[in-house]
Amino acid sequence: MFPLSLNGMGAVEWNPLMLVAAFLLIAVIVVLIRMMGPKGAVFKKFRVQPFLSGNKASEKNIVHADNFFWGFTEAFKKYYEKMFNIHSGQLNDYLFWFVFSLALVLIALYAGVYLWA
């Protein structure tokens, strides 16, 4: 029993077994459809050749990890520049952030307990 909803929208239950069963069913259908193709296409040539934009991918012709999701990192360039500045790798900065957050938490505690109450 793994309930999914809280606000009385009916007792929806999360059942992963059903999802796995559905997944297997779809997988079987996919294999069946592929079996309708040329003989041996499923089990013998199962390890298909990798392609990149229609060209055969080779060692010289692949997308490196740095270039993955280039659009995303380009769009968030300013954010990432700031983040790289903060992640400077300097131990002093690590400790500075600790002291900084400690100060914030202590001030918040003091204000919350003694000034507002």
Partner: protein, 124 residues
């Protein structure tokens, strides 16, 4: 004001030492200086703990010296628990300092410099 300061002198000293140690950790990039700062901070906490257990005119909390239960002297023993804490904490801070210095030696062998900004390569 000054009287209150004098009464709480151990606490003031420990706070000062703590801040000095923290300063070294935050603003010095030399690895040995950081180790020194850390051990100063450790001493500050030790002084704080010892000062917690101090009573005026008290005797050392050793079992064979213990005054008989119920006599006036019973209240005169210093608190033993902070001293036990401090002993443990001294041992631990010794281990930390030794480990830190030996790692600094290895860093120096690798990079030829104790300056953190030159030695550190991991970032981002």
């Amino acid at each position: 004001m000054i009287e209150a300061l004098m009464q709480n002198l151990p606490f003031v000293v420990s706070a000062l030492l703590f801040v000095i140690g923290l300063y070294a950790l935050l603003f010095k990039s030399n690895l040995i200086k950081m180790a020194i700062g850390l051990s100063i901070m450790g001493s500050a906490v030790n002084i704080f703990l010892i000062a917690l257990g101090y009573k005026e005119n008290s005797i050392a909390p050793i079992f064979t010296n213990a005054p008989i239960n119920g006599s006036i002297n019973a209240a005169k023993m210093a608190m033993p628990i902070p001293q036990a804490l401090t002993l443990t904490s001294i041992v631990i801070s010794l281990a930390v300092t030794a480990l830190m210095l030996s790692l600094a030696v290895v860093v120096y062998r690798h990079c030829g410099s104790l300056n953190a900004s030159k030695a550190w390569r991991l970032k981002k």
